[in-house]
């Protein structure tokens, strides 16, 4: 994103614009101190000590009869100037070392990391106090030390980003095309770190200002010079007598820091390009309108029947984007229906609608979904939840990410049976063991004690099927259940599904893009394209004599990959697509 656009976006953000304006105002006022302030910050007239605001002294006088406005303005010079010095040192130290450590890695990286960890283990305030004892009470020296102390925050930030970028393909491409490291860093790497560094500058500036003021507040700073910290110290000494003295230096310090942090937030938002925020409207979801009955001629199946289903996502501007436009499908008990289509065709959205688990922002806008004859479109979450687990079950695509890494397999299998079937701990453990038997896992007792990262992908998928089957559901919704598995394990998992269908009369809605899988296990197929069902029929019918042009294209794509094999042999075709 161009710098100009980012800047405009920051300023258009109300908080960002306000913060930027406030910071500019503060800096300008501090720079123009001699023009604005009517007297020298050190000039005191004891007779006017603690005097309230007056024409000459709009903010009043402090305990020594010095003009508060003048002290705020001149004090800002020391405070902000000190922070600026610390910031410059931190940038000069942190950014180049971070670039090199992140880009080169190796020994320099390890050494730099060790040093950074050491510096970060030191409490800044304590080190600053010690440095003052060693190096003397010069505020500039202390700010240099502070710069060294906060440099690790830049180092870590830059190093992390650069180490990530280094692995990116475009950097490899640049290397291969013979660009020098310096060119690559300047062209590709710096543009990536620029934004985060700007954010960090604002945050570190705030920290530096706070620490600087803290030191001055302790009286460990520049002696008699006016600074915001010293003014707060003076106010604190007189807190019983004139508490209002805290107001102005406190405001100056607080507002400057708040503005810096808010500005950092605005820059971050602008750089992140505002991923659409989930609609915050808390209005009740409108109940889906009933389906237009035009294509509902087919009799509805007993187990699952979907008619005229449309799914839409709320856009940030409040309008809806429809992704599924009127889907009809039926699953009978003991039947596997394949829902086939390319990625993005709306298969998964359809499956999630049946489960009532559409991602944030998505909802069923029209149509009817009946499960065992009961309407579930627009059902309250609580009622929908009652169906999940016991009637509806779900097997996901990616086995590993669908198991909670923090709990054992056993605990994850026992949880739903304890909750739904009210089993005790011991009975639940027995049930879990039985479930692992069901999905043909060889050593159930051992597996129950393992964590997800300790088992293979194929095993994890079996565990997920076991979990889905734990409360004897009637309809299994499997979303690409074999896509992430290797070919042999795929075949085993499909066998398992077939067996569950035959032995338990399980109905299965099998979402897949793989026609081989369809040919292998499905009884009937629904072909989906761009949010619509284009063709439904038995597997033989669809694979043998497709009527819809889109289905023919899909089939042709598979056959093109396996040219020398005619006639169609479903069981082997499974291995063709990835």
């Amino acid at each position: 994103m161009s710098t100009g656009r980012t800047l405009r976006r920051v300023l258009r953000n109300p908080l960002g614009g306000l913060s930027a304006a406030l910071l500019l105002l503060i800096v300008a006022a501090v720079l123009l101190a001699p023009v604005i302030a009517s007297q020298d910050p050190g000039a005191s007239s004891l007779s006017e000590a603690f005097a309230g605001p007056s024409g000459d002294h709009p903010l009043g006088m402090d305990s020594a009869g010095r003009d508060i406005l003048a002290r705020i303005l001149y004090g800002g010079r020391t405070t902000l100037g000190g922070a600026l010095l610390a910031l410059a040192i931190a940038l000069a130290l942190g950014v180049p070392t971070g670039l090199v450590a992140g880009y080169r890695g190796g020994r320099f990286d390890s050494a730099a990391n060790w040093t950074v960890n050491l510096v970060m283990a030191l409490p800044a305030m304590v080190v600053l106090l010690a440095s003052r004892a060693i190096l003397g009470p010069d505020v500039h020296v202390l700010m240099i030390v502070l710069g060294v102390l906060v440099a690790p925050s830049f180092f870590r930030l830059v190093r992390g980003i650069v180490a990530n970028v280094r692995g990116e393909l475009y950097v490899d491409a640049a290397k291969v095309s013979g660009l020098s490291d310096t060119r690559i860093i300047a062209r590709h790497v710096l543009t990536v770190v620029r934004g985060p560094i700007i954010i960090q500058v604002a945050l570190v500036a705030g920290i530096a200002i706070a620490l600087q003021a803290g030191l001055e507040f302790l009286g460990v700073g520049s002696g008699s010079t006016a600074t915001w910290g010293a003014m707060l110290n003076e106010a604190f000494q007189n807190i019983q007598r004139a508490p209002r003295l805290i107001l102005w230096p406190g405001l100056a310090l607080g507002l400057t820091n708040c503005a810096l942090v808010l500005l950092a937030g605005a820059v971050r938002d602008a750089l992140e390009d505002q991923t659409p925020r989930p609609a915050r409207r808390r209005r009740a979801r409108p109940a889906p309108e009933p389906a237009e009955s035009a294509d509902s001629a087919a009799p509805r199946a007993a187990l699952l029947s979907v008619r005229g289903l449309t799914v839409a996502y709320a856009r940030p501007d409040g309008t809806d984007k429809e992704v599924v436009h009127g889907v009809d499908l039926d699953v009978r008990p003991g039947e596997i229906l394949g829902l086939v289509g390319e990625s993005g065709s709306g298969k998964t959205q359809t499956a999630f609608s049946v489960l009532g688990l559409l991602p944030e922002g998505g909802r069923v806008t029209r149509g009817s979904i009946t499960v065992n004859g009961r309407e579930t479109a627009g059902l309250r979450e609580r009622d929908h939840r009652a169906l999940r687990g016991r009637t509806l079950a779900y097997v996901p695509q990616e086995p590993m990410s669908n198991l909670d890494p923090a709990f054992t397999i056993g605990s994850q299998l026992m949880e739903p049976v304890r909750h739904h079937l009210g089993l005790g701990r011991k009975e639940a453990a027995d049930k879990a063991r039985e479930l692992l038997h069901l999905v043909e896992i060889p050593d159930p007792d051992r597996t129950l004690r393992l964590y997800p990262h300790e088992i293979s992908g194929g095993m994890a998928q079996r565990v997920l099927i076991a979990g889905a089957m734990s409360c004897d559901p009637e309809l299994l919704i499997a979303d690409e259940p074999t896509t992430a598995l290797d070919v042999r394990v795929q075949a085993e998992v499909l066998d398992l599904l077939r067996r569950l269908r035959d032995e338990r009369g399980l109905g299965v809605l099998l979402v897949t893009h793989n026609l081989g899988v369809v040919a292998d296990v499905c009884d009937r197929v629904a072909v989906m394209n761009a949010g619509r069902i284009v063709e439904t029929g038995t597997t033989e019918q669809i694979l043998g004599s497709p009527r819809d042009p889109y289905t023919r294209t899909l089939l042709a794509a598979v056959l093109d990959d396996a040219p020398a094999r005619a006639p169609w042999q479903p069981r082997e075709a499974r291995t063709v697509t990835a």
Partner: protein, 313 residues
């Protein structure tokens, strides 16, 4: 696990030696004439030399350090040059004050930050914005400024708590509570702000994980998913921030103890560093490093307990 702890403690010990050496070296650079400072301008040069010799200051810095180190490993941290107190005892007397402060802040932070973070992450909307604003304010306002405001409101105006002073827990638990409340609150605001942001982010991340959808698909109630699965997975990143906050907290304690006149390690740091009392400063530096190493170790052990994957490392 034991192996891991032993390795970490060994690494901590190395760090301790390195830092002690560097600190001693740096502290000895300015050559403050300690003898003259102690005996005053009027003292004779021979008396000053004798004083310096009795403190071991006439020896080369490396020998001085070796001497200090040999005593320190046996638990003898020497005596203060300026007050002749036993350093170990002086630090020990002040430690309970700072420890109660730290424990109080950690307890308050853990409870509040997790409550606010989970609330914001799960509810989003208005709750989320509230917690985020709190985060910005807590982060942006310098701790001591906030402390001044709290003192002004609760001690000076409302007089609910004393503005200054400390009562030991063993002397009077209620007195302890009333003297420690404001300092703990002042220090907690920033750490609650920081940690709750982290919890919020971690909760939002965890809620987006695939396994949360799978758990919902099993028909488990949302409350159970949040408080069992999401919270546990979100705890690890939050804990590492809590550990990092601890270092900042030590710095914050310096200011807060100074403001409330608490006789703790923080105010001790201010007084003794200003005088260049090397034995005391060394003890304080060591204490800080030990504290940081132990806290980080504790955090890593807790993270390992929460996250089985991290246990392997």
């Amino acid at each position: 696990m034991l192996n891991f702890i032993a390795r970490r403690i060994a690494a901590g010990a190395v760090l301790l030696v390195v830092i002690s050496f560097l600190s001693y070296l740096l502290l000895s650079v300015p050559h403050i004439d300690v003898g003259r400072q102690l005996l005053g301008e009027s003292a004779s040069q021979s008396a000053i030399d004798a004083k310096n010799a009795s403190l071991g200051l006439d020896e080369p810095v490396l020998r001085q350090y070796a001497n200090w180190f040999a005593h320190a490993v046996r638990g003898d941290l020497g005596t203060s040059w300026f007050t002749s107190e036993d350093v170990g005892q002086a630090v020990g007397n002040r430690l309970p004050v700072t420890a109660s402060l730290m424990l109080g802040v950690t307890a308050v932070t853990t409870v509040l930050a997790f409550l606010l973070g989970v609330w914001a992450g799960v509810r989003r909307g208005a709750a989320d914005r509230f917690v985020q604003v709190l985060g910005v304010v807590g982060y942006a306002l310098p701790g001591f400024l906030l402390t001044l405001v709290l003192v002004l409101v609760f001690a000076v105006r409302l007089r609910w708590f004393p503005a200054i002073g400390y009562t030991g827990f063993t002397d009077s638990p209620s007195g302890w509570l009333s003297t420690i409340t404001l300092p703990v609150l002042s220090l907690s605001v920033a750490s609650v702000a920081g940690v709750s942001q982290q919890v919020r982010g971690a909760v939002i991340d965890a809620l987006r994980q695939d396994y949360v959808r799978t758990l919902r698909a099993r028909g488990l109630p949302a409350s159970r998913i949040v408080f069992k699965h999401v919270l546990r997975n979100a705890s690890a990143p939050a804990l590492s921030v809590l550990g990092m906050q601890f270092v900042g907290l030590l710095g914050g304690a310096v200011l807060v103890e100074q403001i409330f006149g608490l006789p703790g390690i923080g105010s001790m740091t201010v007084t003794y560093t200003a005088r260049g009392d090397i034995p005391v400063i060394m003890a304080l530096v060591m204490l800080t490093v030990v504290g940081v190493v132990l806290i980080n170790l504790l955090v890593d052990i807790l993270i390992g307990w929460l996250n089985p994957k991290a246990r392997v490392a």
